[in-house]
Subunit: 159 residues, 6 copies
Amino acid sequence: MTTDRLTHVDDTGAARMVDVSGKEPGARTARAAGVVRTTRQVVDLLRDGALPKGDALAVARIAGIMGAKRTPDLIPLCHPIALHGVTVELTCEGDRIEILCTARTADRTGVEMEALTSVATAGLTLIDMIKAVDPAASLDEVRVLSKEGGKTGHWERDR
Amino acid sequence: MTTDRLTHVDDTGAARMVDVSGKEPGARTARAAGVVRTTRQVVDLLRDGALPKGDALAVARIAGIMGAKRTPDLIPLCHPIALHGVTVELTCEGDRIEILCTARTADRTGVEMEALTSVATAGLTLIDMIKAVDPAASLDEVRVLSKEGGKTGHWERDR
Amino acid sequence: MTTDRLTHVDDTGAARMVDVSGKEPGARTARAAGVVRTTRQVVDLLRDGALPKGDALAVARIAGIMGAKRTPDLIPLCHPIALHGVTVELTCEGDRIEILCTARTADRTGVEMEALTSVATAGLTLIDMIKAVDPAASLDEVRVLSKEGGKTGHWERDR
Amino acid sequence: MTTDRLTHVDDTGAARMVDVSGKEPGARTARAAGVVRTTRQVVDLLRDGALPKGDALAVARIAGIMGAKRTPDLIPLCHPIALHGVTVELTCEGDRIEILCTARTADRTGVEMEALTSVATAGLTLIDMIKAVDPAASLDEVRVLSKEGGKTGHWERDR
Amino acid sequence: MTTDRLTHVDDTGAARMVDVSGKEPGARTARAAGVVRTTRQVVDLLRDGALPKGDALAVARIAGIMGAKRTPDLIPLCHPIALHGVTVELTCEGDRIEILCTARTADRTGVEMEALTSVATAGLTLIDMIKAVDPAASLDEVRVLSKEGGKTGHWERDR
Amino acid sequence: MTTDRLTHVDDTGAARMVDVSGKEPGARTARAAGVVRTTRQVVDLLRDGALPKGDALAVARIAGIMGAKRTPDLIPLCHPIALHGVTVELTCEGDRIEILCTARTADRTGVEMEALTSVATAGLTLIDMIKAVDPAASLDEVRVLSKEGGKTGHWERDR
């Protein structure tokens, strides 16, 4: 299910946006995740910021959804695709906030990059909100968990 | 040098873009880093893609520089600032690619978010280029290394 | 034809981009309108600005068309869709400029938001051009007039 | 404090971005407001959507803040300026949601357009979220309430 | 294969985005070209900049690919379309750099504008990189070479 | 007044956004020009499209002004700057439309790229509007005419 060469450069090494016009449109899903590491104190503040009228976690969820839509603007060789659904879930645990994003399309290419960009944008937004309290917060383990659809079918992370 | 509350929400918890119009403009620098973890085989492919006419690493460097400029579009409560200089360095070692970004401004706010967004965009771009070969590649340790300038002066990561 | 809950938040209240990948693509049209209220003097100036080589109204028409294309960038939970046609009509009458926009697609979701965003962008652009003469100009009655297509079929405003 | 001609077109009527390089930078503030009219039932749903983990109103607040940053992309003849602070307040009353935005800068031009664009974007976002329940919701009275700073000084709406 | 009127304005001369919802989706390709004229010395510098780790030409290739994706943001009456493949080739000869772009889609409209915008963006990017050495560099002959697909079928430039 | 190396790549050839934080802000102006070559018939159509309510030339003027604002989004190594004024003039003569753009700033870098991007965007927009009538139209001679301000002072094209 994988290739052994870089598809985004041609034989001379020049970058290109790979032609996908011959691919069939079809339902595709990707789930990606990541984690923001900070301190327990900060995670408590975010939870407080999540009380009634508290927008702290909402800002990150919405940034993640909007970030998914900006993927082709950010990733140079990524195709602009029809994005048909995005969810972002945030879970506060101890000194970390887990980010889980699911992206869906019925287009010609996979949506891994959209799911990953969503996770990264939500994570950076959390860091932006907490950086005055914890300038050492980090974003880690931004990775695809699973993919469905397309010619390659189901793939699930095993490491 | 840090506060004990979230500055990006007001007393009721509502999100806001903090007013910085009273802050002095001044030279500020931020260095951020991250790492893409993949396999040795993929790192070798990227190095090959970096041979004459090979754009593989260039795509990520350029995406990182352009990503820094898109920071206020992506991070909801981030101020649009004058970005005066950006460099992105990539180092291939074993099964990982280290990303180091330096961002500079002479404006009213720090440029940590610009440096972090640059690192994340370069990292996601690398993952986009290698995902057909290694769908399990991940982006880790996206973090600020140091900051200079502004009222808080010098800060350097110690963990 | 309407629901009794907010579709853009899930059961826990978290924002999401609703999955529309199961919806059928099909021809859809939306008409929206709005009005800029100002003074008779200003409406006369705009009409003069609409004489040969006069771009005043053209700026608003073009801003409206371009604004429709920016809808998914502005409205967080709105799907990026294929926009297949947009017209913006401006009518100067007395102390008001009426704005009428028609948006068309052959995609999976309705185009009300595109039509409304077009009207609002055209209206704000008119206010930008006249604000030095009439700082009290306002944009009112931004609303959908009618929709065609999709599962819900025809809808027409009755209030 | 007002002029009697359109400043955004030249003597031949051609559109232009007025040269402001000779203007002094300085603190400027603008407050703008608007109202989304819908039904009592919908306003109750939004309030429910604003309970713990409820993002409904947060989505609109954040869209308003981000919309302010997109002003020069949307309004053709508007200058790109340094936006130094934005707040968006939403008040649910009866069958309406009041939107109040304050925008601040220390740049060369006023920030009325940023405040108005913020109000319109927040309002359209509310309509997007409630349109499945009330397709007849409208955005009204988008207007500047007051301005401070710059050569023209204080201006306050009186009609 | 051509018309004798401007399709982008209606009978009254008002600008519009032409409705293409009735057009059949189908494979379409456009090739466009252009040339940056500078000095032999500069072309040698660019070639040197294209040695190992040299990004000079890569920056222009990538800018061209990304520029193609921004076409509907830049060209007011252009439809946002699904762009399925883009390549940019640069050839250094004497005192000129030839730019050749191929754009592909399987959508409802042609991709000439995407190919042309790609060429222009790559060309402007080259000028940006060399302007400190040759402020008189120019971009010339930005033109469509050929088109395939759609109702009008094959077209090839003959002048 | 010129250098003999590419400033946009470092000693290893890696692309960078040059640090300009040490440069003095100051008034700078750039004039750039270009020409769209088509047929006499098309130029007549554009003039007709420029009659009362005719938006044809206005679309290109406005696209040029808005294009100048998008320069840092399009040109990878270009700094985002405060753009303080833009004018676009179009002159129809025989079988050509001359485009002249003036861009002004009071910032740290020159505005040649903004002026050139404005010319190219206006030119591409004209080609978009006329391509159904003349698919062979081309954009030529996109070049800087003169620059004022900054350390290098006045420069005027002599070839």
